[in-house]
């Protein structure tokens, strides 16, 4: 099977700092890949480099046979990427409705149907539809952020730490939603919450000091306490 997303030895800088120094990973259609690593390893930078927010200085990023390495963010994401950043990335001074509408690349029937599906999936958003996004709770903001990424016909979702700062009950809800998505979407998930990463992910990549150092099946990592301790700095109970 051809990979949907392929990063081949990708490097990138933030200012003078060489953050990614050779990240390589492949994601096949329909699978959920989790990117793990210690704080500051380059996980978020990897996602931001994929969509061009941080330009790749070296290496190649191929999405569905299209080289997006040198594309500006607006072109890269229009190849079919939904990006859900760590800080939700919603527009505080727009309403929930406008946040969803502004995310649509085309305001056609298919997009509006997807919007309706999102509102059914997240009833909280339906209730707050006309409210300003800044008035939403953390969980609602996360739902809006996820919903916004799904209003377009995308090929892959990149999600950056969706459980960060959320109450356990909301984390469970987000996890369930991601598990639902797994049915028909391809996911790249950056996650510090190891339990959630293991619940959602099929395969994993570990990034350390800007390089991919290990990959494999999530199930194996979950069982291998030594690997966890060596690469992630903790051991699951």
């Amino acid at each position: 099977m051809e990979p949907l997303l392929k990063l081949d030895n990708v490097s990138s800088f933030i200012g003078p700092f060489h953050i990614l120094q050779g990240v390589s990973l492949v994601v096949y259609p329909g699978e959920a890949v989790v990117v793990l690593g210690r704080n500051g390893a380059g996980k978020t930078t990897t996602l931001r480099t994929i969509i061009g927010l941080i330009p790749a200085s070296d290496g190649q990023i191929i999405l569905d046979d299209v080289n997006i390495s040198k594309m500006p963010p607006y072109k890269a994401v229009r190849q079919g990427i939904g990006f859900i950043p760590e800080d939700y990335g919603i527009f505080d001074f727009l309403s929930v409705e406008e946040n969803l509408l502004v995310a649509m690349w085309q305001e056609d029937k298919a997009s509006l149907d997807r919007r309706d599906y999102i509102l059914d999936l997240f009833p909280d958003l339906k209730v707050s539809y006309k409210r300003l996004a800044s008035t939403l709770s953390g969980g609602q903001r996360q739902m809006l952020s996820i919903g916004r990424a799904l209003v377009n016909d995308i090929k892959i979702i990149l999600i950056d730490e969706p459980s960060k700062g959320l109450a356990p009950i909301i984390v469970e809800k987000v996890r369930d939603v991601l598990l639902d998505f797994k049915e028909d979407k391809t996911i790249v998930l950056v996650e510090q919450n190891f339990e959630m990463a293991c619940a959602v992910g099929d395969r994993f990549y570990i990034i350390n000091e800007g390089r991919t150092v290990l990959d494999g099946a999530v199930e194996e990592l979950y069982k291998d306490k030594e690997l966890q301790k060596k690469h992630l700095g903790f051991v699951t109970a």
């Binding site: 927010l53 963010p73 607006y74 994401v77 950043p85 990335g89 527009f91 001074f93 309403s95 409210r131």
Partner: protein, 337 residues
């Protein structure tokens, strides 16, 4: 706070009560000319025209988050182009139509070029660079107008005649009023369109708009071109009203006047520019008249500055913003969130 911001920044919701007030105000404005002096009629005509200049600035600052310090070049450019064409080709309606077409094309092209230079950076440095580059464009326009004395009469200013139908002050009042209404409706439609929504997203956070798949530079260019064209049309109307153009119209001070109208009226409200322009023009006029009463009012700018400081201190969201805030508080009391 949320509802206020929504009203302030998204679509100013016009309540039925406000509609009645708007219609009554419009009715009063329509019957003012037969009952007022020519000075009052001219002052009100000026307010109608300058309100669109203010609104065009609100498109940039209030709806897209762009600081343009050279915005007066569109307004002054419109006045100068119309004036030069009237003085060279004659004050006819055909020439006016030609002037409108040329001015719109001129402002669109200049806005495009200005934007290509000004919108290169992002973030805080991008905002500063944009302000400096647009300031430079404005200064180039002012200097050009001063240098091309053969066409503009330099610092002396250019006096010209206008088509006969615009020579009557009362008729000009109605034209200016109609111009303000039509332009307000057009600009309102623009800011509430999908393009307007993207502009507001850029104002909130440009990087977020980028990763949603928007070429933010393109949308900022659209905002600048639309604002430039609206401003230049206001400039033509100003030419028809004053029959005079001087380089003051192109200065950064004139751009700051537009900024003042929007701040006093309420940034990001569109209609705020009408209230802000009326307040600023009426206050200036009143203070100027007071010069005859006491010598101290010859320093009227000091008093005007004090009024401005008070407005900013006590009505930081401007008059329309304060009204919307009051309305929001009333609603939240009725219907707690």
């Amino acid at each position: 706070m949320s509802y206020i911001s929504n009203l302030m920044h998204n679509r100013p919701a016009i309540k039925p009560g406000l509609w009645i007030l708007i219609v009554l105000t419009a009715a009063v404005l329509l019957v003012i000319p037969p009952l007022s002096s020519l000075t009052t009629i001219t002052l009100l005509s000026r307010i109608f025209i300058l309100a669109i200049f203010g609104m065009s600035y609100d498109i940039l600052r209030g709806y897209t988050g762009i600081i343009n310090l050279g915005h007066a070049l569109f307004f002054g450019g419109g006045t100068y182009l119309a004036g030069i064409m009237f003085s060279r080709m004659g004050p006819t309606l055909d020439v006016l139509l030609l002037a409108v077409a040329i001015t719109l094309a001129f402002s669109a092209v200049i806005a495009y070029i200005m934007g290509q230079f000004a919108f290169r950076g992002t973030g805080f440095i991008g905002v500063i660079a944009c302000a400096m580059i647009t300031l430079a464009f404005g200064e180039i326009a002012r200097h050009t107008a001063e240098t091309l004395r053969e066409y503009t009469q330099g610092a002396d200013g250019l006096t010209f005649r206008v088509p006969v139908i615009f020579q009557d002050r009362v008729m000009m009042y109605y034209y200016a009023f109609l111009f303000m209404i039509i332009m307000t409706l057009i600009l309102r439609r623009f800011v509430n369109s999908p393009t307007g929504r993207v502009m507001q997203a850029i104002r909130d956070n440009e990087q977020r708009a980028k990763f949603l798949g928007y070429d933010t530079k393109k949308y900022k260019l659209i905002a600048l071109i639309v604002a430039g064209m609206a401003s230049s049309l206001a400039g033509i109307m100003f030419a028809l009203l004053t029959r005079f153009a001087n380089t003051e119209l192109l200065t950064v001070q004139n751009t700051l006047n537009a900024l003042l109208y929007t701040i006093v009226g309420g940034t990001g409200t569109l209609y705020g520019a009408i209230i802000g322009t009326a307040f600023v023009q009426l206050a200036q006029n009143y203070l100027l008249e007071l010069r005859g009463i006491h010598e101290i009012f010859s320093r009227w700018l000091l008093f005007f500055g004090a009024i401005y400081v008070l407005v900013v201190l006590y009505l930081p969201k401007g008059f329309v913003g304060a009204y919307l805030q009051f309305q929001a508080k009333r609603q939240s009391r009725k219907k707690p969130a």
